[in-house]
Every structure is written in C-alpha cells, then in structure tokens.
C-alpha cells in the first residue's frame, strides 16, 4: 500500500553543508503488516515517518501510495490517503490545539476526511471513545485539562475514527509513564487484531517495538542496518550495532541469564 523506493532525504544546513538525514531506503508496507522501526535519535526514523505521511518530499527516490507519489497527492486522492494512513504522534501536550476542545480535534477527521455531518461525526466520536474506554465527558475539555495518558487516548481516537488501514505510531508511548504505556500498547494491538490494519511502530525503545511487531527494521545514522523477523533480530542480531543495542537491553533486563 505504501512503498518507499530508494527514498532519501537531505537537508541543507547552515553554511551550505548537506545533512543526510535518510539514505536511500526501500520499504513496503501493506495492511496487516506489523513493522517495527527501531532507531536512536538522529537515526533518521522521524524523517522516514514524515516522508511516509507525505509531510515532506523525498530529495531522491519516491514514496508511493497506490502508484501515486505521496507528497504530490491532492483532492480526493489525498483524502483517500489520509483515510488509509493515520498517525499517532509522540507529543501529548502539543498535538492538540490548546484553544479547542478535544472533541473538536477528534471530530475533525470525520468531517474533513469521511465527509460526515456534524451529528454523524459526533456519533462516531462517541463510538470511538467508547471503544477506547474513554469517558466521553472528558471530550468537552481542553487538552490542558486532562492527563497525559488521557490525551494520548484522544490522539489515538483521532487517528482511529477514520478506521485507517495503516496506523503509524511515532514514539507514541515514549512520553508516557510505564503504567500507562502498557495500556496504550494494548490498545494498538487490539486495534490491529480487530481491524486487520497494519501498524508501523516507530520507537527508540526495543521492548515496546518488539511487542507490537512481526518485522523489525533497525536504523542507525540514516541507514537501515538490519531488518528481519522480530525474534531473529532480537535474539540473533547480524549487525554489530543491533548486537550492541540488544546487549544494552539485556544488561538492564531481568532475563539476562535466560536469553544469553
């Protein structure tokens, strides 16, 4: 459904230096896929997410959605793309307009993308909030008036209201407390199983990514250093960087002895 063909991105820094944020990369994501993208800060994973969503144009190669260049989509095609691919971002505080209610934010995709009337959209909001076990009363509040975990639920609701076929989660749980993280990860997994949608889970945290994915892509310094089946990448890493990364987690993890 989304295909990256040798997609790369460079930025022009000050003094005309060229920053290679992402080196040419191939990736195919179909509905039902569960792809985990692991990388530390500066590895190029955020750039990749922005390219996949059409928020930026690749400087080389292409990102295709049903044979159309994602960043060039417009009108109905763009609406169709937004309906199929949605994002749950990292920042729980600033991903909502502080002057508007949470309901307004969640309702927006239903109005703009699905073309529902306000009444229909409101019904859809209630439905999606109920499926996430969120108190609908909270939706009349402003983003600053609910907790970070609740805000992230609303962010998920905003993405799920259009029933996307691919959900991109960009560091969606990194800013949350451990106790909330688990619940949010479960929501993602439930959604994927219920709807058969694909999930692209982008994170620097390996355990959470591994939990949600079938396939792992490891990024480092703008390159994909390794990709493959989750258990293979986690337990028998081929690339030295991946080995070091997994080693660091092993060191901090309870099953140090069992996995070694």
């Amino acid at each position: 459904m989304i295909t990256a063909k040798a997609a790369a991105k460079q930025y022009r820094g000050r003094d005309n230096t060229v920053v290679h944020a992402l080196n040419p990369l191939d990736l195919v994501i179909e509905p039902g896929d569960r792809v985990g993208i692991i990388g530390e800060s500066g590895s190029g994973k955020s750039t990749l997410v922005r390219l996949l969503l059409g928020l930026e144009t690749p400087s080389a190669g292409s990102i295709l959605y049903q044979d159309g260049e994602v960043s060039q989509l417009s009108g109905d095609r763009l609406r169709q793309f937004r309906r199929d691919v949605q994002l749950v971002g990292q920042d729980t505080t600033s991903s909502f307009d502080p002057l508007r209610s949470l309901r307004d934010a969640v309702r927006r995709p239903a109005l703009e993308i699905l073309g529902l009337t306000v009444a229909e959209a409101d019904a859809a909001v209630d439905e999606v909030l109920a499926s996430l076990a969120v108190d609908p009363e909270l939706s009349s509040r402003r983003p600053s008036q609910v907790s970070g975990g609740q805000r992230q639920r609303f962010a998920i609701a905003r993405a799920l209201i259009v029933s996307p076929r691919i959900l991109i989660c960009d560091e969606s749980v990194s800013a949350l407390d451990v106790s909330v993280q688990g619940a949010v990860l479960n929501e993602f997994k439930d959604f994927a199983e219920r709807s058969g949608a694909g999930i692209v889970f982008v994170s620097h945290g390996v355990p959470a990514t591994a939990f949600l994915s079938d396939r792992l892509v490891v990024m480092h310094g703008g390159d994909v250093v390794e990709q493959g089946d989750v258990s293979q990448v986690v337990n028998r890493p081929k690339h030295p960087y991946t080995a070091r990364l997994m080693g660091a987690y092993r060191k901090l993890s309870a099953d140090e002895s069992s996995a070694a």
Binding site: E40, A183, H204, G205, S253, A259
Partner: protein, 283 residues
C-alpha cells in the same frame, strides 16, 4: 582516594519523615510525605517512581535546591554532616557541603554562555585554592577520565557545540571533580538513547566507586535500577511503597504497586505475550 572511605561518616543520608510541600495559587500541594531513608556511605541507592511520584522533589530536597515556594519538614534530615532542618532557606540556595548533583539534561544544566573549561575550572577551584593553570590541567585530566578523547578542544568549546553524549560526560566531570561524598543523579540518562545510557551509567558507577562516593539515583526505569543499584526505594504518589535490597525487591516485590509496575513494562522476554499486564485504575 578509595582510602578516604574509612574517614567518612557511616551514613551519607539520614532522613526521617520528610515532607515536601509547594505553595500554589490553590493552597499547599504536598508532593512528598512520610519519606524516610538511610543510606550508608558508598552504597548505590535508586529511587524509582513514575511522574508525580515525588521522586524529583525528594532529590531536590536532599540536595538543598528546592525553590523558595517549597516547604521542607522532617524530624531528621542529615546529609553528610549538614542538618538540613537547621539550614535557613535562601532565594538562591547554598550547596549542601559534599553533595553534587547530575541532572537529566546537560543542555539545560550546563551554563550555555561559558566554555566547558571555565565551568569545569571554577568547579575544581571551588573546592580548594588551586591556581588557574593547575585547574586547567586538572580539568583536562577530568575530561579524559570521563572518556572524552580530545579534552583540549572540548575545554575551549561551549556546551551547545558538543554532542549530547559529550555534554552529559562534561556534566558528570563537573559534578565529580570536587570529589563529593554524595552524588545525586536525577534521571541522569532519561533523555539519552539506551546504548549511551548504559555507557554513562557504567561511567558514573565506576567513578563513584573509585572516589568512594555514595550514589543516589532517581529514575523511572526499572532496568537501570536492576543493573546499577544495591538498594531500591519505590515511590508512588508522594509516598514510599517499598524499599529494600534491589535484587530481592525486583524478584519478589512485597507491595502490589511494585509488582504491577514490574509487570506492565514490556521486556524482550515477552515477545509472544498476547497482552501486557496493565495497572487497574491507573491511566
């Protein structure tokens, strides 16, 4: 330097019934209550909790760095040789002698307008009347000690010209160069990537072991406690729910909260689990 250990007080931290409150427009907000902790010299203790658990308030209270609007009360609060309860509160606090602090993000903690050399130099000279030139030499040595390969360049650099890992190393050097008896590390690596975070904690623990410095680490990451602490204190909503030997607590938690916290963190071992355990009522 390890030889100094014998001369030090038996307990680096002795705190009983600590309460920290903040004045807010809506009245007093209690961030920490009934907090008691004794840390003997040379121990590595971790305080674990989620956001809002009061762990940072504890750390700032023990370092004597809480702002004026905060009220700290305790029946006992002795840090090294200082009785915190007897200290007057100041708009700009004084250092608690023998206590250094490492913060979460060196970008904020280091002074942006001064060079690394100047900041490290004043910290070295702050402890004794070392000459400027001598301090410069010592500063270079400290940078090497925290694993910086080109100390001459870094000494001339300002914090924003360094990479995140380098900045964090510089901060560790500044905190430890006065050879403190207690190092309080407030989420020292939360802003960093996991490989770097492991490297830095290795560095902190080995340096503090060399210097005989007691380490009090605040973190939300159970993995870090597991690997780098002897004792652990679990906090929830401003109270201690459990404390004890790290291995014991993590292997067989006695408090429900600790057990739940352990269960809901995904780990590499549970790849095939269908769902994560979640905390009821916490969201």
């Amino acid at each position: 330097m390890p030889g100094d250990v014998g001369l030090r007080a038996a307990n680096a931290v002795e705190v009983a019934d600590l309460r920290v409150r903040y004045r807010t427009p809506d009245g007093w907000f209690t961030a920490v209550s009934d907090f008691s902790l004794t840390v003997s010299s040379g121990q590595r203790v971790a305080i674990v909790g989620e956001s809002g658990s009061g762990k940072s308030s504890v750390c700032m209270a023990l370092a004597g760095l809480l702002p004026l609007g905060a009220a700290v009360e305790a029946t006992t609060a002795r840090i090294i040789e200082t009785d915190l309860t007897a200290r007057p509160t100041r708009a700009i606090p004084y250092q608690v002698p023998g206590v250094s602090v490492v913060f979460q993000n060196a970008m904020n903690a280091l002074d942006p307008v001064w060079t690394v050399g100047s900041q490290l130099g004043t910290a070295i000279r702050g402890r004794g009347a070392t000459s400027r030139a001598r301090a410069r030499v010592l500063a270079g040595e400290w940078l090497e000690r925290v694993g910086i390969r080109d100390p001459a360049r870094v000494l001339r650099a300002r914090p924003y010209e360094l990479s995140g890992g380098m900045r964090q190393r510089v901060m560790i050097a500044i905190a430890l160069c006065s050879q403190p008896e207690l190092l309080i590390a407030d989420e020292p690596t939360s802003a960093l990537d996991v490989t770097l975070s492991v490297d830095l904690l290795e560095l902190i623990t080995s340096l503090t072991a060399d210097l005989g410095t007691t380490l009090l680490m605040i973190t939300h990451d159970i993995g870090l406690c597991r690997a780098y602490s002897d004792r652990v204190v679990v906090m929830h909503r401003g109270r201690v729910v459990e404390q004890g030997d790290t291995e014991q607590v993590l292997a067989a938690p006695s408090a429900d909260y600790t057990a739940a916290l352990l269960a809901c963190a995904p780990s590499l071992g549970q790849l095939n689990d269908h769902r994560l355990t979640t905390m009821v009522g916490v969201s």
